[in-house]
C-alpha cells in the first residue's frame, strides 16, 4: 500500500515556526494514544500515520497559519493524547554514552 516512507524533517512552506527562542509544537502522549488517526485527517501537513495508524509528527513546530487546524486536531482526539506546547528551541542536554535521537541514515544495499 505505502511507497517507501520519507521521514518529514522540514516544516511545510509558509511562515517560519519560530520568531524567537520558543515555538509551538505538537506533543503526543504516546501512552494515551491509541491510533484513532483523526489528528492526521485534520492536519495532514504535519501528521502522517504509520502502518498501524499511529501518528508521526513532523519536526519543526507548528507554523502560524496552521495553528487553528492544530487546535482542532488537538480537540478532536478522543483520548486527549495530543496537545500544543510552547517549547524552547535550545538544544536538549544529552549524555555521552548512550543511544539517542534518530538512528543513523539507513543502509544502502
Amino acid at each position: 500500500m505505502t511507497a517507501t516512507f520519507r521521514p518529514r524533517t522540514l516544516a511545510p512552506p509558509g511562515e517560519p515556526p519560530s520568531t524567537g527562542a520558543t515555538r509551538t509544537e505538537l506533543v503526543v502522549d504516546r501512552i494515551a494514544c491509541d491510533g484513532f488517526g483523526m489528528c492526521a485527517e485534520l492536519l495532514p501537513e504535519l501528521i502522517e500515520l504509520d502502518d498501524w495508524g499511529y501518528p508521526i509528527v513532523a519536526a519543526g513546530g507548528v507554523p502560524a497559519q496552521l495553528l487553528d487546524h492544530a487546535r482542532r486536531a488537538v480537540a478532536v482526539c478522543p483520548v486527549l493524547a495530543l496537545r500544543l506546547a510552547r517549547t524552547s528551541t535550545a538544544p536538549v542536554e544529552r549524555g555521552a554514552g548512550g543511544w539517542h535521537g534518530k538512528p543513523p541514515p539507513s543502509v544502502r544495499r
Partner: protein
Amino acid sequence: MSTQILWFTTRGAGIVSLILFSAVACLGLLAVARTQSARWPRFLTVELHRNLALLSVVFLGIHIVTAVLDPFTHLGIGAALVPLASSYRPLPVAFGVVSVYLVLAVIVTSLMRERIGHQVWRAVHWASYAAWPLAIEHTLTAGSDSFSVWLLAVQGAAILAVGAALAYRLTSGGTNRSRLAAVAGGTADPVAVDPAWRNH
C-alpha cells in the same frame, strides 16, 4: 389556544431531542468502533457527535421550559428539577428528569475535558448508557399520545438504530490498547485495530 401551542411545542421539541440524542448515541458508538469510509472520515463522526449533542440540548431546553409552562400538566419548576415531585405522571416524568441530569453531567464534563483529564471524563461518560434508555422510556410513557403509530415508529427506528450501532461496536474488536500486551508477547499478530491510514 396558547396551551395547545405549548403542548405541541413540548411534544415536538421532545421528539426532535430524542431523535438527535439517538443519532448522538449512534455516532458515539461508531466513533469508538473507528468506522470510516472513503467519503466519511473519522473526525466527522466525532465532531458531528459533539455538535448534535449540543443541538439536542437546545431542543431539550425548549421541551422542558414549555412543559413546565403548560397549564394542562400543572408541572411546576419543582417537578422539572426533582424526580417524582410531579403530580402529573410522576414516574415517567422522573425518568426524563434523571435523564436530563445525566446528560448535563456528560455535556459539562465534555466541555471541560481538557481541564479534568481523560480518566474522569470517561467515567462520567458511561452515564450516557443510562441516559438514553431513560429518555426512550420517558418518551414512551410521559406523553398523552405515546401510542400513536407515528411516534411508535419513530421510537422503534431510534431503538433499532442505536441497537445496531451497539452491536457493531461490540463486534468491532475494541481498542488497540487491549491487545498491546498480547502483541508484545508474541501471542497475537501485530495487526492494529483497523489502521486509520487504510482509506487515506
